[in-house]
Amino acid sequence: MAKTFKIDGMDVSAADDQTILQVARERGIFIPTLCFLEGLSFVGACRLCIVEIEGNPTPVAACATYPQEGMEVYTNTERLQGYRRLILEMLFAEGNHVCAVCVVNGHCELQWLAEKLGMTYNTLDYLNRPKQVDASHYRFAVDHNRCVLCTRCVRVCDEIEGAHIWDVMGRGIDCKVITELNQPWGESVNCTSCGKCINVCPTGALFKKSKAVAEMEKDTHFLRYFSTIRAGGD
């Protein structure tokens, strides 16, 4: 049964299976996202899509929240803008994001978001933790310095390719994505080398080894076809 509610004062309606983010996007209302990707399941990991709900003390992730009848949602309050910038600052401070020499410079979702959301400088100290590059795969490499732990690679490999070679290991600051239960990627027997993880990665963490600085462009169009096929099968 359709629900009616408000986004930024605009009357909107949502089908049962629609999240706040989906409704907002249908209406052309911009809510920033990073871990969310159309065609994959949602995890609400990055919190960039947080929105405020009237009467609710804490913001909620729009990608992972279904609207309720009569809800009043606000997508771009001053408080949210501050939180979002802080989230970005934390992502930049935790990793080692050096756009100037990055393979996706100019084509990076994190870089785009920082620009879009007005993160002009970082108020936090950089952690400068040394992180590894695994370039053992013959075509692809993962640079953990640039990983934001969005888990898109984990989800696309599991949900679309069906190989499930990616997982997340460790807790807190030591969290990292791993291949084949923490074996070098090049030794993976289950990786089909399809490249889907490379294309859904929002940053330069996953890239083709053949690409030099700023040469790598991600292409997630294939997900639309899968969505279409799935919709047809339902």
């Binding site: 410079n105 590894q132 590059v133 053992s136 013959y138 490499a141 080894k209 600085v213 040469e215």
Partner: protein, 474 residues
């Protein structure tokens, strides 16, 4: 009582350095040290990075000559791929390297050194800067600005942006040249040539005023090193790395780049972060050699373009002892700028310059790569080793300026001994101590933008550490 004179910082150069002069009891200079006071560490921080990042990473060594590092680095990476890159890519890289040469030489000659050359070494320091030149010789100042613009604009037209473009990549370049952009560069060439010819005319007419400087500015016999074409012509991108003796005779016709360490040693002095490379067969420090514009013109037999060849012939006609003077780095820079503009014009008329085949695709096929090119300040060498996964495991860089370190130190001593006597320090004498360094146009870091006078601080320090005299300006 022995004294020490410190010049800190040295002004109108690129980067940070200071000079220490040691005086003996009679107040005569008995030793001099040129200290490079900054530390970078690029060789270490690139370990573990994918090799394809190297050109862009190395470009960050310098904001003035990013192109030089991009070229040497990309050439080393081509060696890792073990491919022959498309001919058009070679020509486009040559062109951007020449444009870099022009803009950097213009910066050195007009912005940094022309105040000394056109206003005089002893002129009032309050006006001894590019704005002073703009007042006294407005056409020269304008020419300098326009020439720098020619170089930078050519880089931008070819590579997309002026500083740190990502256009030069392992295997070639990312984008071909279009007819429209070719014509934009061609349109700038006549004016650029004329500016250089005007500067040459003025410079040559005033050379007689600098007889003392020519005699004392790091004027001593050394070896010279630089790239040459197969026909012994001027070459900045590829070719044979030649070493000649002070007598002009060839010592090493072509250094085997994978065995450069048998020819070039790298000494480290505790007073400077800049390494002191030397010609190994002669040992340290006797194996002093020079690189850069002066050396290149001393090595080659001809330039390879019409006007530059005419100017080079005049330069070659100078007496031998003059051609060993580092003062003539300025002269050589003007001739090289002329060659650069003419050679760019030649390349733009090559029939295949608009070919779209500009990027060879390959995986790494070698564990080791050495790239050598000529930067504005001299021979630049990048040496990389990678592991099975294509990650950098070893980097050695011999930066153009470093090659001249021994000669710069000795040059400072020569000038100081000639101009400073009895502990008396005249402003013009100190300016000459700095000016000999400026003649080499050392690029000690990325970029420094000298407008007017930077503060100059000289201390006379007694052996017990007390400051007995102090001079400040700025």
């Amino acid at each position: 009582m022995t004294q020490t004179i410190t010049i800190d910082p040295v002004t109108r150069i690129e980067g940070h350095s200071k000079i220490t002069l040691f005086l003996d009891d009679a107040g005569e200079v008995h030793d001099a040290q040129f200290h490079v006071t900054q530390f970078r560490g690029f060789e270490l921080l690139s370990e573990g990075r994918p090799f394809r990042e190297m050109p862009s990473l190395m470009a960050r060594i310098c904001g003035i000559c990013p192109i030089s590092h991009l070229i040497a680095s990309a050439k080393a990476c081509d060696e890792l791929l073990a491919v022959r890159i498309p001919e058009t890519a070679v020509k486009l890289r040559q062109m951007v390297n020449l444009a870099q040469m022009v803009q950097s030489h213009a910066l050195s000659f007009f912005y940094l050194s022309s105040p000394d050359l056109l206003l005089g070494m002893d002129s009032n320091p309050d006006n001894r800067h590019i704005f002073g030149v703009a007042q006294a010789h407005p056409e020269m100042a304008r020419g300098g600005v326009k020439l720098r613009q020619f170089g930078q604009r050519t880089i931008e037209i070819l590579a997309g942006k002026r500083i740190h473009p990502a256009w030069i990549v392992p295997g070639g370049v990312t984008e071909p040249l279009t007819a429209d952009r070719r014509d934009q560069i061609l349109a700038m060439i006549p004016e650029a040539k004329q500016f250089i010819l005007n500067a040459l005319t003025l410079f040559k007419a005033r050379l007689h005023e600098f007889a003392d400087e020519i005699r004392t500015f790091a004027n001593f016999p050394t070896l010279h090193m630089g790239l040459v074409t197969k026909a012994n012509g001027l070459e900045f991108y590829d070719g044979d790395l030649r070493i000649i003796g002070a007598d002009g005779k060839t010592l090493v016709p072509a250094v085997d780049k994978y065995h450069y360490q048998e020819v070039i040693g790298e000494a480290v002095e505790p007073y400077s972060y800049l390494k002191s490379p030397y010609y190994k067969p002669r040992g340290y420090p006797n194996g002093m050699y020079r690189v850069g514009p002066l050396s290149r013109l001393n090595i080659v037999s001809h330039a390879g373009t019409l006007l530059a060849d005419q100017e080079l012939a005049q330069f070659k006609a100078l007496p031998d002892d003059q051609r060993q003077s580092s003062f003539h780095y300025h002269y050589a820079r003007l001739i090289e700028m002329l060659f650069g503009v003419e050679r760019i014009e030649q390349l733009l008329h090559e029939p295949d310059i608009l070919s779209t085949h500009v990027h060879a695709l390959a995986s790494p096929n070698a564990y080791e790569g050495v790239g050598i090119s000529e930067a504005p300040r001299g021979t630049l060498l990048h040496h990389y080793k990678i592991d099975d996964d294509g990650l950098i495991r070893y980097v050695n860089l011999i930066i153009a300026t470093g090659n001249n370190n021994l000669a710069m130190n000795k040059g400072v001593l020569q000038v100081a001994q000639h101009y400073i006597h009895g502990g008396e320090i005249k402003e013009g004498a100190l300016n000459r101590v700095e000016a000999v360094i400026r003649a080499f146009d050392p690029c000690l870091s990325c970029s420094t933008h000298a407008i007017g006078q930077m503060p100059l601080h000289i201390e006379l320090v007694a052996p017990d550490g007390t400051v007995v005299n102090e001079v400040k300006r700025g």
